[in-house]
């Protein structure tokens, strides 16, 4: 198998790895870079547990080759909190609203919600539900996830208005 060197930015850090050309981005992150926040929940691009941000778009990292992320900019759940450790409003809102149980879908949910709020800073409940419909959760029934996302949105908008 031909191996390729990939260089990219992950959570603000420049990284490099030697991978097979067939290596998936999710395996580059989890196996080569030890970034284990994003999870694997299916083999069919349906569950969204592997969701990360690549160049400003939500992608399912199990459906992207590592080499496609060459020179790319990746954000995973590990990169969401501020440098001083302050949690991202979404992380805080998920905790405050009981938006997670087993936590397995959570990293994907959070990174997806993060991108959703960039795309639509003021989503309705219906827009949130559609916006996270690529991410499955078996535990929560989504109600508290939806609540958490709308609360985080409100908070982020308030902060923005104050600034």
């Amino acid at each position: 198998m031909a191996s390729t060197k990939v260089s990219l930015t992950v959570n603000g850090n420049e990284v490099e790895a030697e991978v097979d050309s067939r290596t998936l981005l999710i395996h580059l992150l989890r196996e080569h870079l030890n970034i284990t926040g994003p999870h694997i929940g299916c083999d069919t691009s349906h569950c969204g547990a592997c969701t990360v941000d690549l160049n400003g778009k939500s992608v399912k990292a199990c459906t992207v080759l590592a080499v496609q992320a060459q020179d790319g900019d990746v954000l995973t759940v590990e990169g969401m909190a501020a440098a001083d450790g302050t949690l991202h409003p979404l992380q805080q809102a998920f905790m405050d609203n009981h938006g997670l149980q087993c936590g397995f879908c959570t990293p994907g949910m959070l990174t997806r919600a993060h991108r959703l709020l960039q795309e639509n800073p003021n989503p309705t409940e219906e827009e949130i539900r559609w916006g996270i419909s690529g991410n499955l959760c078996r535990c929560t029934g989504y109600q508290n996830i939806v609540k958490a996302i709308s609360q985080a949105a409100a908070q982020m908008n308030m902060k923005e208005a104050a600034e």
Binding site: E31, T36, H39, G41, T44, A81, C102, L136, R138
Partner: protein, 807 residues
């Protein structure tokens, strides 16, 4: 001067029972710092992957591993022949049967494990799997359970074809028969049916489905050759049981086996049993001397790990003409697949099916279940319910609606008429179960009032009129479910696992000199937040803030022996152990406090977090102060330290209950169902953390919605498993999932130290019949009686068509 904190403030500082304490698990999960099995990476670790059968029933003629072994990175390919010398090609199941670890001469279901390829990384292992050549001779499969016991049916289990019984459950009638289980008074029940004014009968099938937690099954096994010690990290709901089984089937003694269940990404029953992947990872690490990881993918998870349900129940109810139920009969055919790997207590092959008289005062009942083998995946786990409880409740709740229809009575009225009343508690059912406590009519009335039941019925009648008049194509359905659950398995005198260990559970608590504490448990959270809730019980009982109590589970080297988490047993059993251990600590603390304050123990009273001298309330010692004294100044004859262990064997099960009402609208032309509203009232006794209870109910209802509206693991006539990926298997997204309205009443459990009953599974048990009743109710006035789950749009449309409602 500082103001003394008020009682309220002191109580709030504890974050004890009854507070919606925020989860302590969340900081790690929201920052990507969970520690799930697949996150574990050990030096030199290699990966295992399975070669699986493409056939449902076939003889293995030859396995050629040469090409696979030539793949760079592939280290070994193991087959049943490699396991035979160690007698590891079969493993015991929880049901008292055996299951092939790797197929022995014959495959019995599609996707069965045939060979195990070990390689340096997952990609090479997958390459190796592709290149293992297996020659098969196809055999005729048995797919329909109703034909399994036909005279000319092929014998599936040649390994036990002469066995008189399986699992000690009595004589077999056919080589594909596993056991027959019966309960109740057949004669009296037959008489009740003979004397009845009205009787109804219906075939109620509960389809094969799958719990499919978001994290699939996986493990990392590591054998230390020098010390002869094995460590296995795995997705185990019951780690101690795994350790004991491992000690029984391997030459390793139990103290050299350490089972660790780290963070688990959901279980719902799917992670109770032992799978071939675990055994193979262990076998491979023992052979190779390096750590071996096995992670199944989603398709393997859905098609090869334990299914749930597959119960085909012929339900019958007898009643007087004014609607008093006088008898219940049910004959069930249970499809167990190729091996009986059903999760159940050894004495109950059909689990707790006896709960089928539900919340009703039914004087006579008789049930019988036949388990059969077919060429399907083994399993039979309780998908978010106690063993076979959801099947039983589904059957009876459907039957009650069918009876109401026959009697021309409102299903709510019929239920109310037959409910056990509060003055009948403790109530002993005709099967001998003793229900602990409840006020079923009050709960149901509250539910009906909350949804405006009578108004809904009027609206439904109006919609029906419009439909009949051709003004609308929509029908409205109202589903009711009033259910009683049986959880907290269970009293060891009636319940055990693998015929060996009773279903008690345990807690060990240790208070440190500064008044902080650690507690360890035999249960294992898979998302239920035990780290949060157990600390709440301890804090209320010991007067130590929950934030100062560390909770640990899942490591068999450190945790006291326990049966793990399934069947909503953590609160009823683990929670009781927790409260009692804390009470032992407090009792010792009281002795120490009395000694230090130089008063008699009897003169002290407990006040939230403090021992006070009666009559001299200023003379007091907080638990924190006592903790320090426990390590420096104890009375003569008392040991130092402040710790306790409790092994709690419950005197009885607990019986949470609820009343659910669902409203649906069905478009008859497309068969599509819109869930208009869903109201769920649960009574789980004392509520430890209302926020978490509500979350459990949301999750359970969503699973009930999934099962009733879409989930099915189906097979075609040659035994190809259909729909075993997330492409086909219905996992609702946020878009389809209804909005849930939750409510509660509180009737504490009289035999539980803090009165709690458990809640995780109620919403699944009560939710499934509620949805199904709603769908069936929509068609009841137009001649529909029963249509089988899952109620997908095509099936509902078919039903409408059968009734002549669509062209």
């Amino acid at each position: 001067m500082n103001k003394q904190p008020s009682r309220k403030e002191r109580e709030a500082a504890l974050e004890g029972i009854g507070t919606s304490r925020k989860r302590v698990e969340d900081p790690r999960f929201t920052q990507g710092k969970g520690n799930y099995v697949d996150d574990i990476k050990l030096p030199d670790m290699v990966h295992g992957d399975f070669v699986r059968s493409p056939y449902a029933h076939a003889r293995i003629k030859k396995i050629n591993t040469e090409a696979a072994l030539a793949v760079p990175g592939v280290l070994a390919v193991l087959t049943a022949d490699d396991l035979k010398p160690f007698n590891l090609h079969y493993m015991p199941t929880l049901a008292g049967d055996v299951q092939a670890v790797l197929a022995d001469e014959k495959v019995l279901y599609q996707m069965q494990e045939v060979a195990f390829v070990v390689a340096t990384d997952r990609y090479s292992a997958a390459d190796g799997v592709e290149l293992v050549e297996v020659e098969y001779e196809e055999l005729q499969p048995v797919i329909d359970p109703f034909t399994a016991m036909d005279k000319d049916a092929p014998v599936l289990r040649e390994d036990i074809k002469d066995a008189k019984e399986v699992g000690g459950h009595g004589p077999r009638k056919h080589p594909n028969h596993i056991w027959t289980w019966e309960a109740g008074d057949q004669k009296a029940t037959d008489k009740a049916f003979k004397d009845a004014d009205v009787a109804v009968e219906e075939m109620i099938s509960y389809q094969r489905c799958h719990a499919s937690p978001m994290e699939t099954a996986c493990c990392v096994a590591s054998f230390d050759k020098i010390n002869g010690a094995l460590t296995v990290w795995g997705t185990f709901q019951a780690p101690h049981v795994v350790r004991t089984v491992a000690a029984l089937i391997s030459p390793l003694p139990e103290h050299k086996i350490r089972i660790i269940a780290p963070d688990i990404g959901g279980g719902f029953g799917n992670k109770v049993g032992v799978y071939p992947g675990y055994i193979m990872a262990i076998a491979a690490t023992v052979v190779l001397g390096i750590p071996v990881k096995w992670v199944e993918d989603r398709i393997e998870n859905l098609s090869a790990t334990a299914f749930a349900r597959d119960y085909h129940m012929k339900g019958e109810l007898a009643a007087t003409k004014d609607g008093k139920i006088t008898g219940l009969r049910c004959y069930t055919l249970a499809d167990h697949g190729a091996f009986d790997a059903c999760v159940s207590a050894s004495k109950f092959p059909a689990g707790l099916f006896m709960i089928c008289t539900n919340s009703y005062d039914i004087p006579n009942a008789f049930v019988s279940v036949d388990g059969v083998y077919t060429n399907k995946t083994p399993g039979g786990v309780a998908y978010r319910c106690s063993l076979r409880v959801t099947e039983a409740i589904y059957m009876v709740e459907r039957m009650v609606d069918i009876l109401a229809q026959k009697l021309g009575m409102d299903p709510a009225e019929l239920r109310m008429k037959n409910m056990i009343t509060p003055d009948q508690f403790p109530y002993t059912t005709t099967f001998g179960l003793q229900y602990d406590s409840g006020d079923y009519p009050a709960a149901f009335k509250k539910a009906m009032k909350a949804v405006g039941y009578d108004k809904l019925r009027k609206e439904q009648a109006k919609m029906l009129e419009d439909f009949k008049a051709g003004k609308s194509r929509k029908l409205m359905g109202i589903g009711i479910s009033t259910f009683t659950e049986i959880v907290g398995a269970g009293p060891s005198r009636v319940c055990d696992l693998v015929g060996l260990v009773g279903t008690f559970d345990s807690c060990e608590v240790r208070v440190h000199p500064t008044g902080a504490a650690i507690a360890r448990f035999g249960t294992k959270s898979q998302g239920q937040a035990h780290e949060t809730t157990y600390a709440q019980i301890l804090s209320t009982e010991m007067g130590i803030p929950a934030a100062d109590i560390e909770i640990e589970e899942g490591d068999t080297d450190t945790a006291p022996y326990g049966m793990g988490t399934w069947g909503s047993r953590s609160t009823p059993v683990g929670g009781a152990a927790c409260a009692n251990a804390a009470r032992k600590v407090r009792a010792k603390a009281q002795k120490i406090a009395a000694h230090v304050m130089e008063v008699s123990e009897k003169d002290l009273e407990w006040d939230i977090d403090t021992f006070r001298v009666k009559g001299a309330p200023d003379k007091a010692m907080t638990m924190k102060e006592v903790a320090l004294a426990a390590y420096s100044n104890v009375p003569e004859g008392l040991e130092m330290g402040l710790e306790a262990v409790e092994y709690y064997d419950p005197p009885n099960f607990t019986f949470p209950y609820g009343a659910y009402i669902c409203v649906v609208e069905i478009d008859t032309d497309t068969g599509e169902t819109a869930i208009r509203s869903f109201y769920a009232l649960d009574d789980c006794g004392t509520r430890i953390n209302p926020m978490i209870i509500e979350g459990q109910v949301h999750g359970g209802l969503t699973e009930a919605f999934a099962i009733s509206m879409g989930q099915i693991i189906d097979y075609d006539e040659t035994g190809n498993v259909i729909g075993a990926s997330f492409l086909d298997y219905f996992i609702p997204t946020a878009v389809e999932t209804p909005v849930w309205t939750t409510d509660h009443t509180v009737t504490p459990c009289p035999h539980h130290p803090i009165g709690a009953k458990g809640v995780g599974e109620s919403p699944n048990v009560g939710g499934v019949p509620c949805f199904s009743n709603a769908i069936n109710d929509a068609f009841a006035a137009l001649g529909g009686v029963h249509t089988q789950m899952p109620h997908t749009a095509p099936r509902v449309w078919e039903h409408a068509k059968e009734l002549g409602l669509v062209a």
